[in-house]
Amino acid sequence: MIVRLKFVYLAAIFLFLYAPIGVLMAQSFNESRYRGHWTGFTFKWYDSLFENEQIFDALQNTVSIGIFSAGIATIIALITCVALREFGKKPRAIFMGVANIPILNADIVTGISLMLLFMGMGLKLGYGTILLAHIVFNVPYVMLCIMPQFMSLDKSFYEAALDLGASPFQAFVKVILPELRPGIFAGFLLAFTMSADDFIITHFTKGAGVDTLPTEIYAELKLGIHPEMYALSTLVFFFVVIFVILFTMARKRLADKEVF
């Protein structure tokens, strides 16, 4: 009885989570370009997706800003975590508290305050300011992923490497970095995801003519979304599903290997 109740509960939650995704996918195959009118099945939006320059530009901006902002944020976070490990508990807690401000703050406040800063500095709002803003909010996410792993790292391996004649840099690259790889990878991926999905901060720090996918979608909302957008989302969804399945399988194989 309880088992069945649990199953029903999980099913209800997943229906709630996946219903909009189902609607989105259905719309990508809908002949009509208007929401909620099913006029027949078609693949034409997938065809025209590759000819839609607006969407292609927005996609390009999203991916490049995602990679650059996540990459730069990862480097800053890594350097900071190296230094933070050497601080006492109290100052470290204070620094981590400061780092978490962009996460805990409301996006609208972060976005507006950054916009005021960029305007005050006389920067022209555009690709550069979006990239800067994304680096700003990505740094704490990467730090959150790296810091716990860094703290639980065994210092004696590093010291052993030094005793055996490695320079501190060599010891860091050969001993510490490999240990941190999962955290760095997770941090980069999280930062990329945050950047690609961010709408509010981009909305305030972007200039006219430069769009990422979320701001492009928002701009289209009033006139009706290009159905190509649904096609793109459906493709992205399946891409992520495949990636996640491969990733989980690879990790499981690795874990199995370690057991034997």
Binding site: I76, V82, A83, K89, I108, S113, V236, V244
Partner: protein
Amino acid sequence: MFKSAGVKTLFMTPFCLWAGIFIFVPLLCMIWYGLTNDDEIFTPANLTLAFEPPYFKALLLSIGLALVSTIICLLLAYPLCLILTDKARDLSTAVSLLFILPLWMNSLLLTMAWQTILEKNGIINQVLRYFNLPDVALINTPTAIIIGMVYNFLPYMVLPLYVSLSKIDKRIIEAARDLGASYMQTFWKVILPLSLPGAAGGMTMVFIPALTTFVISALLGGGKLLLIGNVIEQEFIAGYNWHWGAGLSMVLMIFILINMAVTIFFDNSHEEVEEK
């Protein structure tokens, strides 16, 4: 790791520059705008604006909807996390993955899809009509906004709650059962108190974005239900009055600061575990 304090300072430089220029200076800019008027004269008028009728109404509506969605998120997430922590590990990984997948979809498009589900001739009403039941008016009501908020922010509740529930030592629960506690007693006296930090973390993570959103209300409220976020966005983007917008944002900051205080209060507990 390294002996010299100079290296430590050098390595902290990027962080300090980042925090200084991109966290503190922007906030100061905002406070400057919030406390001055067009003639650059200090005035509290932008702050007290929040208590004038149209703005105060938006603020109250935002607080109300954010509170309701936070509570719904908590009530939905708690049983879910209990089930997830209870399951065998392999199955639990698969279920958690299923849960995380929607996060990679664009949240604007998903909220948009809720429009298709909730609207007058939407999917819910079509289904109701099929069974000859009366229509329900959902779109452009506070209920629709709450559904949108719960949908968008439920993961922020589930993740911290799941972490704190899965950290509970199974032996403690077994001990409680061995000592004669019923399942309900074990839940109230053991599981619930131990999961409080996660629940508190989740609540702060949901409350702030729900309080400050302007996207969900714009999409599912039909532009008639203004939240404080919509008001602030219009002051800036439609170019009405930046000083007013900054002043209203400062009022929001009060809630954010309270939230940060709560987070820090509950955060102290696991700092010792991290230390090695």
